[in-house]
């Protein structure tokens, strides 16, 4: 097993792909943090599904050229984003309905176009199927270049606009009051989502690309309350998932990359959900128990104060005043004794 991995790491193509998915995971973790805090996690889902008709149209227009496919995906990503905004703004429908609507209709359109391509003479070898689940191992260096450069571009944008996006997300009115162009800033953020979704669909696939945006960010959210730390954590988690997923799917050729990347990220999310300090489930349960114990001790003291008479003969009436069961009462009584609350 380990030898397999080592020999794989020796292959130059895989090293390229690993670097690419690392950058992709990093960038999508960063963008995802902002998207999560803007409460628009599922917009990425609609956008990535809407990329399918774009990819197909790109193929119909220019053949299997990556720039054409990516342009199509980006254009349809923008259209879907615009559609969601328009539906949300100009009708009484809620945002989640608008997202589901755009997502299903555009994906249906994508399937129509996909069958159109498959039925055409050139269609059998189109390989567009791999866009649905992603196959990072099939990427060639030029694909990797494109993906990495988009990812780095988006990361740079996030670093550049960090302060601005932070304020626009947490206090849009104040940002507007400062004279900032909140609309432009929001559009730049949306554009970065579109770009990162477009870059990722070849490696991770249309259906699971949204997970790479949501999951690292929500996992990072458990560990901190500071945006800067959250962005860094999310990018590390994203990069780690990307690399692990690519490695596993490269070792076992039959498994598409997307699911493994997402499963890795989900495992990290689950561990964070359970074990993160303060916000994690375990920490919360422990804090709750500690609180209960302290509260019981307070009750025991109160009951002691309310009972008249000397200490040794007090137990019965004390227990009655406290209203606790025998076992528990005895424990509390011993605690009181140990701490010399009575003689």
């Amino acid at each position: 097993m380990i030898q397999d991995w080592l020999s794989l790491l020796g292959s130059p193509n895989l090293r390229w792909v690993l670097l690419g998915t690392m950058f992709l995971g990093m960038a999508s973790g960063i963008v995802g943090s902002f998207v999560l805090l803007r409460k628009e996690s599922l917009v990425g889902e609609a956008m990535s599904h809407a990329a399918l008709p774009g990819v197909c149209l790109g193929f119909l227009v220019a053949g299997r050229e990556l720039p054409a496919l990516m342009t199509g995906a980006a254009v349809f990503g923008l259209i879907s984003l615009w559609g969601i905004r328009v539906i949300h703004r100009h009708s009484k429908l809620k945002q989640d309905t608008a997202i589901g609507l755009i997502l299903s209709v555009f994906f249906g359109l994508g399937i129509v176009l996909l069958t159109m391509i498959t039925n055409s003479p050139a269609g059998n070898k189109s390989g567009l199927d791999s866009y649905i689940f992603g196959q990072a191992a099939s990427m060639v260096p030029s694909d990797v270049w494109m993906m990495s450069s988009i990812a780095i571009l988006v990361t740079a944008a996030a670093l550049l606009f960090f302060k601005e996006w932070k304020l626009v997300i947490f206090d849009p009115l104040f940002a507007g009051g400062l004279g900032w162009k909140t609309k432009t800033l929001n559009s730049v953020l949306s554009l970065s989502i579109v770009l990162i979704v477009t870059a990722g669909i070849q490696a991770v696939g249309i259906i699971l690309m949204s997970a790479l945006i949501i999951t690292p960010a929500i996992a990072a959210r458990y560990w901190t309350d500071r945006l800067g730390v959250m962005v860094i954590l999310a990018s590390v988690i994203g990069a780690f998932s990307g690399v692990t997923g690519t490695l596993i799917s490269a070792v076992d050729g039959g498994i598409p990359t997307g699911p493994v990347v997402v499963l890795t990220a989900t495992v990290i999310f689950f561990l964070s959900f359970l074990f993160a300090p303060k916000r994690g489930k375990l920490a919360q349960v422990l804090a709750h128990r500690q609180f209960r114990r302290r509260w019981k001790k307070q009750q025991a003291l109160k009951a002691l104060g309310s009972v008249p008479g000397t200490a040794a003969s007090k137990y019965e009436s004390w227990q009655k005043a406290l209203g606790a069961k025998n076992n528990e009462a005895k424990k509390l009584w011993n605690w009181l004794k140990k701490n010399r609350y009575f003689m």
């Binding site: 409460k39 309905t97 299903s104 399937i111 039925n119 649905i132 949501i214 039959g254 699911p259």
Partner: protein
């Protein structure tokens, strides 16, 4: 019945059962749950196959329904422990879907368990898989879909008042003693059973389209719940007919083209629906403005100029 007839009627029934559930989902702002369930159905299918080793439809149905319910429960658990709602949905279904695809490609690669099939459905093959009932040979998918439709109609009509109240005024419903939590999980169960029964014939994508889009279109046309149910069923049936013939004409995927047709119906509703359509609204506003403008003022200035 003819080959075409079976396809269309199966589509219409699947559309009807999805869209009446969809009305409740859209009104209760849980539309994306249907998307989540339609994705996790895959995990249910694979687990059912890996556990029992058969590809029997009934086993698959149960596996998928369990997976759907599990999804809604996990989403609810995450929400209750403080994860924001959209992220809870996003994390859960992508994880389940990824697990499903992983299991398929790892352990069931050589079996006829096609992810593409589950996603896009294969309504063109519906008439070929038949069962004999009372001496009549009818397609299996048709049977499943009509049973689920009857079930949905029964549950909704029997609890109509309760659904209405708990949808529009949850606080009042709870204070009157209507079991809101039970209704929530009942709706989730119905969503998952409906998605599962329909996706085998029409595919996961069309299930989402049928659940959300006709209901959203109907919402723009009416303010009465009963009419919303009616309109959404009519819209989904219209999408079935037009989608089927469009697909036949262009020689493309039937379920994909039906999904696109629901989108076309929504677009028409969005632009022209009575009081909510974007175009009709602006036309009416213009008319109103003109009327106000042309109305003879009570005290017309002598020079004929009018103040704004």
């Amino acid at each position: 019945m003819t080959y075409e007839g079976w396809i269309i009627i199966t589509g219409v029934l699947a559309g009807a059962s999805c869209s009446i559930i969809g009305v409740l989902l859209v009104l209760r702002q849980t539309a994306m749950i249907s998307d989540a369930i339609s994705h996790t159905v895959i995990l249910g299918l694979v687990s059912a196959f890996l556990l029992t080793g058969t590809l029997d439809s009934f086993t698959m149905l149960i596996g998928a329904a369990v997976a759907g319910l599990l999804t809604t429960i996990v989403i609810q658990l995450l929400k209750n422990s403080g994860v924001q709602s959209d992220a809870a949905i996003g994390v859960t279904f992508t994880a389940f879907f990824a697990l499903g695809v992983f299991l398929i490609s790892r352990y069931a690669g050589n079996v006829h368990l096609d992810v593409n099939h589950a996603l896009m459905g294969n309504i063109a093959f519906v008439p070929f898989q038949t069962v004999t009932l009372f001496g009549v040979s009818i397609p299996q998918a048709f049977l499943f879909v009509s049973i689920v439709l009857l079930l949905n109609v029964a549950v909704i009509t029997l609890l109509y008042k309760e659904w209405k109240l708990s949808t529009f005024d949850p606080a009042l419903a709870v204070s009157l003693g209507i079991p809101a939590v039970f209704l929530h999980y009942l709706l989730m169960t119905m969503t998952s059973v409906t998605a599962v029964s329909s996706f085998d014939s029409v595919g996961a994508v069309l299930v989402v389209a049928f659940m959300i889009v006709p209901a959203a279109s109907a919402y723009l046309w009416t303010r009465k719940l009963s009419f919303m149910f009616l309109y959404s069923v009519v819209f989904s049936a219209a999408a079935c007919f037009s989608g089927y013939y469009a697909a036949k004409w262009l020689n493309v995927s039937i379920s994909g083209s039906m999904a696109v047709m629901t989108g076309v119906i929504f677009l028409i509703s969005f632009l022209f629906a009575g009081e909510n359509g974007v175009i009709t609204r602006s036309v009416r506003q213009k008319q109103h403005r003109n009327r106000e403008w042309n109305r003879q003022p009570a005290f017309a200035p002598a020079d004929g100029k009018r103040e704004l």
